[in-house]
Amino acid sequence: MPESKENKEIVKLPWMGIPRLLPYLKPYRYRMMIMIFLGAMVSLVDSIVPLFNRYAINNYVVKGTLEGISRFALLYALVLVVKLCMDFTSAYMCGQIEMSVDRDLRNAAFNHLQELSFSYFNQNNVGYIHARVMSDTGKIGMLVAWRMMDIIWNGSYILFVLIVMLSINVRLALYILALVPIAVVLVIYFQKHLIVLNRHIRELNSTITSNFNEGITGAKAIKTLVVEKKIQDDFTRDTESYRKNAVHATHYSALFTASVTMLSSCALALALWRGGKITMEGVMEIGTLSVFLSYALGILEPIQNIIVTISDLIAVQVNVERLTRLLNTESDVADSKEVIEKYGDTFNPKKENWEELYGDVEFKDVSFHYPDGTEYVLENFDLKVPQGTNVAIVGETGAGKSTLVNLVCRFFEPTKGQVLIDGRDARERSQLWLHSNIGYVLQTPHLFSGSVRENLKYGNPDATDEEIWNALKLVSAEEIVKRMDKGLDSDVGEGGDMLSTGEKQLLSFARAILADPKILVLDEATSSIDTVTEKAIQDAISVVIKGRTSFMIAHRLSTVVDADVILVVKDGKIIERGKHKELMKNKQGYYYSLFSRQYEEMSIKAIG
């Protein structure tokens, strides 16, 4: 869970990490300046308003005259209107800056992710990355807009009030000022505890949410296993722990507010006592005393606010650090400068310079280990795959069958040696060039929310409806689409969840065919389709792979017997290779044992 990782990741960044964010603030610097200026002005006006009271009491009430009161009222009203305008502008601007920075950061993070290599995605789970894009950015936007504004408003308010108080009566002001350090210590003490407690509560809360998630998505499993009681007990234990911690945290925050308001009352009492005395002595006017009282009462709140804000800033550092770390992560698989110059980058391809891909693939003395491991899964591996060759990769679940495919697709690059595409190192041309020529059907089919048409056109935006129907026919998926109420315009739901796994697989197959790729990659594509459909697909496959270079990861051996080359993988390494008939000759071989087990008994039965 992203939340629990927070603890380990608390870092201290210079200046709250703001310098790292500066490039993203630059476009808004003028607006920010206006915002800061207006914020200061608003707080100036806020701190001045009580002076109107003093003026009114001293000049009208005490002197017993109403002369000029209409002018006074007018001026007061004017100040209010000016304040309204400034208030509105600064708040609106603040919101605008927040959202704009948010948006820019989200775009930057999202776009950066499009170029990161697969090792990043293997090392970080989707939930974690998703939180970087969606929630860290939001917190940072909040920081540069509202938190900034809070600090400016409260800071200048304190400053102005201090100035006014000092100008009214220095000694009295110093009495009040003496309370400020106490307030600061108090706030810091409590805040420190509260940050920790609240983080813990948030963690517990997300645990409870995932418990709900588990209880609901796992309803079928819970019912069939009859473990309702156990799951409920665990749930109750979590909610109880949440309750205890929440009450504990409230105990602190209640002590906190109670002591801060008590301190304000002390300030009030102090001002009343000392101020009353000098007023009686005739040093100060009554109106001035009342103003002073309201300042004394009002100064502690902004102090509290400012400290709470600062502690928020410290908490946001984690988010800043995590986001900048993402933005600073460099892709393991990156195109070189020269390549980008000639072929363009991911977002600005120079398609005019792209060569036609013919389809020869060659592994030349390739050694490879995954970036997060040290054990070599390929060592000095050579394999020529001429255009049109059909390569099948077989082996047990988890044996490492995807490795070759990852290398062909350049999702990873060889640690040593070369992968040649049409005789040239894959690194000599851009990733996008290669990917634009590859069709891919995944083990777990992935569709995007949107219509069937949008999904099918994913690899070929220019495909016509006719071409789409043809592709669907090829994989016998016509019926699926026809059965849906809006045909090609039907919504597939989030992640395609309106369709069954088998249906998703068929559609993702049609999608790959539509892209008309030179190289086709099939990753256990036929594992959850019933036999009749599977047969239809296999027929389609043999049509589709004709003339194309293809790599097929297959569980079912019947899929692979036609392959030109079969690679047999065990424990991450290729232990046998050859055509089906050649491999079958070695009766002690691994392939032989894999294959015969499936068919032996059956053929005996069929004969006998």
Binding site: K83, F88, G95, F118, K230, T250, A254, Q443, K605
Partner: protein
Amino acid sequence: MNNKNKFPTRSGLVFFFLKGSIGLFASGIVFSMLVAFLDMVNPKIIQYTVDYLIGDSESTMPFYMQLLIGISGGKAYLKTHLFVIACIVITIAIVCGICRYLNKVLNSMAAEKLIKRMRDILFDHISHLPFAWHGENHTGDIIQRCTSDVETIKVFLSEQLTSLFRIVIMITFGLIFMFQIHVKLALISLAFIPVLVLYSLFFHNRIGNAFREADEEEGRLSAIAQENLTGVRVVRAFGRETYERHRFEKKNDAYTKLWIKLMMLLSAFWTSNDLIAGVQCMVVLVMGCVFAVRGEITVGEMIAFYSYNAMVSWPVRMLGRVISEMSKAGVSVDRLREIMNAEIETDREGATEPSLDKDIEFNNVSFSYDNGSSEILKNVSFKVKAGETIGVLGGTGSGKSTLMYLLDRLYELPEDQGTISIGGVDIRNIKMHYLRRNIGLVLQEPFLFSRTLKENIAITRKTPELKDVTRAAKLASLDETIRNFDAGYDTFVGERGVTLSGGQKQRTAIAQMLITEPPIMIFDDSLSAVDTETDAKIRAALDKHASGATTILISHRITTLMHADHIIVLSHGELIEEGTHDELVEKGGLYRKIYDIQMQGGEERA
């Protein structure tokens, strides 16, 4: 049991949830009212100090103030010993602080008790709802109800509703004091209250709507990011980064625009609200001056009036909020009521616990998921002898999983749609939990809990015994795989741990079932993601160690089914063929056709 109308009203459910916390809430409210009252007293003291002691005015004062002054040593003494007043102020502050603390803590104890009770009850209720209910409702929607609606209700009850008492107290006392000081001035100040309340109400609804819109848009944006990340392979393999970027940026823009619009609305609300409050203060000040100059009120009275006025304006604004939140909370209560009013699974009266190592009989079973729509099963009848292994072959949508769900009573077979019996007892007359405990059903799409592998396999046990766990894991060909993990059986699975492959998950689910040693075992296509070699290994292990159990194997892999004692073939909800493997091959029907397809490679080349 008829609990359709268990909670016919909103308040019925709210009071049900409030059981156990209502007393705490009440005592919290008592302290909050004390706080409100004490907050009102301080300005009074200041008024009299300024007026009577410092300002020498001869205004009449209520007897309790006279009493207070009497106790503290009389006017003359106080005039020279102002610190006594300061001490009184501080004493009141201390008492007030204690009350404030108690109020907050009691309120939080109540609120947390409430939310715990709500969560526990909901969770328990949901886990006892029939599986059909789960199918009809979206997971995301239910979770949202259990989290954010619960939160909304808690916040409303513990913050808004309890503050209502304080608000009323503050407004009442404030107004009483204000009216005591000067009726006309109080009326002037009062005139602003309806304006503020109406105004807040007006804005609150619009802001609420804008928030909802922005929330929905955020959901869409978030979904795009999510899909892009989970589908990163597809995006890359098709070279569609630019498309993804445009898609995201477009939604991101739309979302940002909505928020900026919302910000505009919020800014307008905040600032104009402040303006109204500011104008009210100004009018009170100016009119106060007029009355003071006319000699109708004293300086001290005016200062006190001013502070009461400021004090009343906050609760008034809150009042508008409470009213508008009330409708929001009401909606949340209704959404929870829908869950709580759904009927839970119950056993029939006189349900028994017969021994289940008997023959299973499906007799004329027909079924459709939602009444009247296309039938998933049509008059299916067959028999499974005790201890036998039966194979079920059928295409996607042939109804083979549904058959098993009916046997496990995940879905209840309607009265007139045939019968399913075990040892002659209609399963509807068998205690549900007893039945399920004795049927080990391994699901097609296995579900693992976010716990360790050990705990997952032994999920049905109170305490996981490693010995039993490894035994089950060995049978499921999983032991070796697990031992290869760094943490072995303590490896954490699920969203916070390692991701298992489809085949590993299926094997874990099988181990999970095997540990319970049930008399009836069902494998609902549970070996589809396991390669054929492991598949064979597992079946061999089962034959050896669990041969006494009645076994139902569902698969589209002939090699998995061919050794079964009896095989039935389902197509579009109908039983079209049955017999042993040899009989079916002989017969030349659908089974033969599928067999030929799967055989093809083997026969020709092996």
